[in-house]
C-alpha cells in the first residue's frame, strides 16, 4: 500500500468487460486512465461509446458523447461514492481511507497481490457486493467490481501505449 501511495501520477490504458444478468453477451470497451494524487481520477472511454468520467475530490463529472457534462456531487450519492472510493483508494494507496468504507482483506505476495474490499455501509452493500484489486509491486493489474445482483465489471489495466 505504501508503495502505491508513493506514485504521484499514473497513466494507463484499460480494457473493460461488463457482464449483466439482463444481457446475453458481455459488453466490451477500451480507453485510458489518468490518476493524480490525492483524489483526481479521469477515465476516458474511447471505444465503442465515447465517454469521459472525471472524479475530482467530491465532484463527479460525466460527459457522454455529444451531451453536456453532468456534475454529480458524490456527497449526495453515498452508493456511488463507495464505488468510486473503491477504485480511487487503491490508486491513492490510502489504506486508512479504504478502511473507512470497506472491510479490507489482503492476500498474496509483493509480486502478486490481491485486495478484497467489502462495503461497510448497508446502503452501499445493497448495490455493491465487493471489489477485487490485483497487482504486482506498485502496479495495479486489474479491478473487478461485483454488484449485489451478480453483475460484474472487470477492468484490466496496462502500461500506456
Amino acid at each position: 500500500m505504501t508503495r502505491l501511495a508513493a506514485v504521484p501520477e499514473r497513466r494507463a490504458v484499460f480494457r473493460e468487460q461488463r457482464r449483466f444478468a439482463a444481457l446475453s453477451e458481455p459488453l466490451q470497451s477500451r480507453g485510458h486512465l489518468l490518476y493524480r494524487r490525492p483524489d483526481y481520477l479521469e477515465k476516458i472511454t474511447d471505444w465503442p461509446q465515447p465517454e469521459r468520467l472525471v472524479v475530482d475530490g467530491d465532484r463527479l463529472i460525466l460527459t457522454e458523447a455529444n451531451e453536456p457534462p453532468r456534475v454529480v456531487p458524490l456527497g449526495s450519492q453515498p452508493e456511488l461514492r463507495t464505488m468510486i472510493d473503491g477504485m480511487r483508494g487503491p490508486l491513492a494507496g490510502d489504506l486508512a481511507a479504504l478502511r473507512r468504507g470497506f472491510a479490507v482483506e489482503a492476500a498474496g505476495s509483493l509480486q502478486d497481490w490481491t485486495l478484497t474490499l467489502t462495503p461497510l455501509d448497508p446502503r452501499a452493500a445493497r448495490l455493491l457486493r465487493r471489489i477485487g484489486v490485483g497487482g504486482h509491486d506498485d502496479m495495479i493489474r486489474d479491478i473487478r467490481l461485483i454488484q449485489a445482483n451478480g453483475d460484474e465489471q472487470w477492468m484490466q489495466i496496462g502500461p500506456p501505449a
Binding site: R18, L23, S24, E51, E64, G75
Partner: protein, 781 residues
C-alpha cells in the same frame, strides 16, 4: 431657563395642602391600568399588522403573502468552522431533530428524497409521469438503457433503467429534485459559494404560533449545542423565526421604552416642578389615558398589537402635555376656574385639532395603523378630558403650581428674536426648493419594509433562501378551485403553454403541484392507456429484436405496468406527513373552503409576453407579480391615507378658523405646523429615508404637537408673566416629546424607529416655527 425661587405668600401655606386626593387618584389610575393590561391580549405577529386587502384580487395577494409567513419554515445555517466539522454538526442535528416530533421535515444532506420515498415514487412511476408504450418508443428506450449500461451510469440502469425503458421515473425525479443549487460535503448541504452548511426544517405548528416556534427554534439550538459545536455558529431564519424575532424585539422595545420614557419624563418634570406631588398629579390622567386607550383597541380589534402598545407608551410624551400645560399655567393660589379660563380656548382647540389630525391614521384601512390611530386618539382625548375636569380639583386641593414665576428679564430679549421671523422662511423655501429639484420625496414601495421584522433578520433570510435555492415566490400564477382535483386539472391545462414559453425563453421554469402529483383524472387516463400484459409482452419482444437483452431482462418492467393497472390514483391526502408531501404542501393548499395551487415561475425574462400568453385573468387563474402587486396595494393605502389626511386637514382648518376667529393668526398657526412638516420631510429625504405610510402617520403626530405649541403661543393680550409661563411650559412639553420619541428612534422594530425619528425631528422644528410664527413680536398687540 433655571427654576426660580419658591414664591412666598398665602398660597405657600403648607397647612392648606392636601396630598391624599392626588395620591388616591394616581393609585386608582394605576389600578385601572393594571386591570386593563391583565385583560387585553397582546399580538406581535405580522398578520395582525398587515391589511386584508380592499379588492378581491388584492385580498388574494395579501392572503398569499400572509400565508407565506404562516408556514413554519426554518432555514438553518452553520458557519465558523472547517467544512468537515460543519458537516458533522449538520448531520448530528439532522439526526437528532426528527426525534423531537416538532418537525414535519428536516433536510440537510444526503439525497433530496429518502430511499423509502423514492421507492414509493418508483412504484407509481406510470401513474405520476407520462410514458409511451408503443414498439418504437420501447425500442428507443431499450437502446437508451443499453447505452447507459455501457456508460459509467450503469448502476442506475440496472437499478431503475431495465424496469423502466420508457424513462418515466427519470422525468418524475427531475420534477422532484427542484432547482436547488446546494453542493454536498460529507453528506451535508453546503452553500455554493462559501463554507456554510445548510439545513431546512418545517415545523408541524404554524409559523405564527409564536410559543410553538419558540419551542422549535429552542430544539434546534439544543440540537446544535448537543453536537458540541466548538467555534461554529448557528444561524436561523425563516417566517417562523421572523415571528419570534419580531415578538421578542417588540417585547423588549415596549418594555425598554415604557420604563425609560417614564423615568425621563419624571426626571424632567422633577427639574421643572420640584415636587413629587406635581409628578403624581400629572401621571394620573396619563396613566388613565393609556388604560382607556388600550381597552378601546382591545374592544375594537379583539386584541392589541405590540406595536400599538409600544407606540402608546410613547404617546405619553404627547398626552402628558395636557396636564403639564394645565399645571404649568397655574398661578399659585389661583382657583381652578381661573386657570381654565386663561388657557381654555387654546387648550380646547389644541385637543380637538390633535384628535382630528389622527383621523387619517384611523381610517387608513391598514389594521396596524388603525390600531395606532385608535390608541392615540382615545389616549389624547381621555387625557385631555381627565385634565380638564379632574386635574383642577387635584391641583387646587394640593395647591400645585410651577416653582418658577414672575416676569423674567430674559423674556424680552428672547422675544426680540421674533423681529427676524421672516428668516423662518429660509428653511421652508430651502425644503421646497429641494423637493422641487429632486422631484418630490422618495416613496417606499416595498411592503416588506413596513413589517415589524428587524431588517437584519430579513437579510439573513434572503441569504439563506438564495443559497438553498428556495427563492421567494416573486411571480406566481395563482390557481383556485373548490377542491384539490380541480386545481390540479386547471394546472395541467396550463402546463403545455408554460412549457412552450420556456422553450421560447420567456421563463426559466415553473414549479407546479401538477408536475409532482398529476390530477386523479390524468392518473386514471394513464392507467386506462396502459397496454394489457399480453400486448405489452408482444411489444417488448418486438422491440427487443436484435438487441443483446435476454428475454427476461424486462420482466420487472412488465410486472410494474401490470401492477399499475390495479393502483388507485395517488391523492394529496395520501402524501400527508411524508417528505414527498412536505414538498407538495406549499404548492397545493386548502385555504378556507377553496383550494389554491400557485405555479411558481422562475427566471421570467419577458413579463409582458407571459401576461399576453395568459390572456385576461379569471377568478380562478390570476397572474401575480408579488412585488408589483404588493407595491400597488401599498400605494393604494398610501393614497387613501392622503385622502383622509386631506379631509382631516380641512376639518382642522375649519375648527381653527372658528376657534381663533382671526384669519391672520389662523394662517400663522397653520403655517408654523405645515412648515415643520415640510422641513421634517425634507430632512428625512435628505438623509436617504424613503418615506412611507408610517412617516405620513408620524407627520400627523408632528402636526398634533405643533398645533399645541402654536395655539398656546398665539393666545392674545398676555402679560409678560403669562408669556414666560407659556414658554417654560411649552419647552417642557417639547423636551418630553423629544425624549420619548427620541427613545423610539433606537428601537429594533422598524415601524417604531421610523415614527420615533420623524416625531423627534418634527417636534423640535414645530417648536421653533411656532415660537417664531405664532407668537407676538414685540410691539405687536
Amino acid at each position: 431657563m433655571k427654576p426660580g425661587a419658591l414664591p412666598h405668600g398665602p398660597a405657600a401655606d403648607g397647612a392648606r395642602r392636601r396630598a391624599w386626593p392626588v395620591l388616591l387618584a394616581l393609585a386608582a389610575a394605576i389600578l385601572i391600568l393594571l386591570a386593563v393590561l391583565s385583560r387585553i391580549s397582546v399580538r406581535t405577529d405580522m398578520v395582525e399588522f398587515l391589511p386584508a386587502g380592499q379588492t378581491a384580487a388584492a385580498r388574494l395577494v395579501m392572503d398569499e403573502a400572509r400565508a407565506g409567513t404562516a408556514t413554519g419554515l426554518i432555514l438553518v445555517g452553520l458557519e465558523g468552522a472547517d467544512p468537515a466539522e460543519l458537516a458533522r454538526i449538520s448531520k448530528a442535528m439532522a439526526a437528532a431533530l426528527p426525534a423531537t416530533g416538532l418537525f414535519q421535515l428536516v433536510a440537510g444532506g444526503e439525497a433530496a428524497l429518502p430511499p423509502d420515498a423514492l421507492e414509493q415514487l418508483f412504484a407509481r412511476r406510470y401513474l405520476l409521469a407520462p410514458a409511451e408504450f408503443g414498439v418504437d418508443a420501447l425500442r428507443a428506450g431499450m437502446e437508451g438503457v443499453l447505452r447507459q449500461l455501457r456508460s459509467s451510469a450503469a448502476p442506475l440502469a440496472t437499478q431503475f433503467g431495465l424496469a423502466d425503458p420508457p424513462g418515466a421515473f427519470l422525468t418524475l425525479i427531475r420534477g422532484w429534485a427542484g432547482s436547488s443549487t446546494v453542493r454536498s460535503v460529507d453528506g451535508a448541504w453546503f452553500a455554493a459559494g462559501h463554507d456554510r452548511a445548510l439545513l431546512l426544517a418545517r415545523t408541524r405548528a404554524g409559523g405564527m404560533d409564536v410559543p410553538a416556534q419558540e419551542t422549535a427554534t429552542g430544539a434546534i439550538a439544543a440540537a446544535f449545542a448537543a453536537a458540541r459545536p466548538g467555534p461554529a455558529r448557528l444561524l436561523v431564519a425563516g417566517p417562523a423565526v421572523f415571528a419570534r424575532d419580531a415578538a421578542r424585539a417588540i417585547h423588549a422595545d415596549v418594555q425598554r421604552i415604557s420604563i425609560l420614557s417614564t423615568l425621563l419624563i419624571a426626571a424632567l418634570l422633577w427639574w421643572r416642578f420640584r415636587s413629587p406631588l406635581v409628578i403624581a398629579a400629572i401621571a394620573a390622567p396619563v396613566v388613565l389615558s393609556v388604560a382607556v386607550a388600550a381597552a378601546a383597541v382591545q374592544l375594537g380589534f379583539g386584541s392589541v398589537h405590540g406595536v400599538a402598545l409600544g407606540f402608546g407608551a410613547t404617546m405619553l410624551g404627547v398626552s402628558v402635555d395636557y396636564p403639564v400645560l394645565m399645571i404649568g399655567h397655574r398661578k399659585r393660589g389661583e382657583p381652578a376656574a381661573a386657570t381654565r379660563a386663561r388657557i381654555g380656548p387654546a387648550f380646547i382647540l389644541a385637543v380637538i385639532t390633535a384628535t382630528l389630525g389622527l383621523g387619517a391614521m384611523l381610517f387608513s384601512g391598514f389594521p396596524g395603523l388603525a390600531q395606532l390611530g385608535v390608541f392615540s386618539a382615545v389616549g389624547l382625548a381621555t387625557c385631555a378630558l381627565a385634565t380638564w375636569f379632574g386635574l383642577p380639583l387635584l391641583i387646587v386641593a394640593a395647591n400645585l403650581a410651577p416653582v418658577a414665576a414672575g416676569d423674567p428679564a430674559w423674556l424680552p430679549r428672547l422675544e426680540r428674536v421674533r423681529r427676524w421671523r421672516w428668516l423662518g422662511l429660509v428653511p421652508v423655501l430651502a425644503a421646497a426648493a429641494y423637493f422641487a429639484a429632486i422631484g418630490g420625496p422618495h416613496w417606499e414601495g416595498d411592503l416588506a419594509n413596513l413589517s415589524p421584522v428587524p431588517a437584519a433578520s430579513r437579510a439573513l433570510d434572503q441569504a439563506l433562501r438564495a443559497e438553498l435555492g428556495a427563492p421567494d415566490a416573486g411571480q406566481i400564477l395563482l390557481l383556485r378551485g373548490p377542491d384539490a382535483e380541480t386545481v390540479l386539472q386547471r394546472q395541467e391545462a396550463l402546463l403545455p403553454m408554460l412549457d412552450r414559453l420556456r422553450t421560447e425563453g420567456v421563463l426559466a421554469g415553473a414549479d407546479a403541484a401538477a408536475t409532482l402529483l398529476p390530477s386523479q383524472a390524468t392518473q386514471r387516463a394513464r392507467v386506462a392507456a396502459l397496454p394489457d400484459p399480453a400486448t405489452l409482452a408482444a411489444r417488448i419482444e418486438q422491440a427487443r429484436a436484435g438487441l443483446p437483452f435476454r428475454p427476461e431482462a424486462f420482466r420487472g418492467f412488465a410486472e410494474a405496468v401490470a401492477a399499475t393497472r390495479n393502483l388507485a390514483p395517488l391523492r394529496p391526502e395520501d402524501l400527508a406527513d411524508t417528505p414527498v408531501g412536505a414538498r407538495l404542501d406549499p404548492l397545493l393548499t386548502r385555504r378556507g373552503a377553496a383550494w389554491q395551487g400557485p405555479i411558481v415561475l422562475h427566471g421570467v425574462t419577458d413579463a409582458a409576453r407571459l401576461a399576453a400568453a395568459l390572456g385576461p385573468g379569471t377568478a380562478d387563474v390570476t397572474y401575480i407579480d408579488m412585488r408589483g402587486e404588493l407595491g400597488a396595494i401599498l400605494a393604494g393605502y398610501t393614497a387613501r391615507a392622503w385622502r383622509w389626511l386631506g379631509c382631516c386637514g380641512v376639518l382642522v382648518v375649519l375648527v381653527l378658523g372658528a376657534g381663533l376667529r382671526r384669519p391672520g393668526m389662523t394662517a400663522r398657526v397653520l403655517g408654523a405646523v405645515l412648515a415643520a412638516m415640510l422641513v421634517t420631510a425634507a430632512l428625512l429625504t435628505g438623509a436617504g429615508v424613503r418615506l412611507s405610510l408610517i412617516h405620513l402617520v408620524a407627520l400627523q403626530l408632528v402636526a398634533g404637537v405643533g398645533l399645541d405649541y402654536a395655539l398656546f403661543f398665539a393666545r392674545r393680550q398676555l402679560d409678560a408673566e403669562e408669556r414666560a409661563r407659556t414658554l417654560r411650559t411649552l419647552v417642557t412639553c417639547n423636551a418630553m416629546t423629544l425624549l420619548t420619541f427620541g427613545l423610539l428612534s433606537v428601537c429594533d422594530t422598524p415601524v417604531l424607529r421610523d415614527i420615533g425619528v420623524t416625531v423627534a425631528v418634527g417636534a423640535v422644528l414645530a417648536m421653533g416655527f411656532a415660537f417664531f410664527a405664532a407668537g407676538q413680536a414685540p410691539g405687536e398687540a
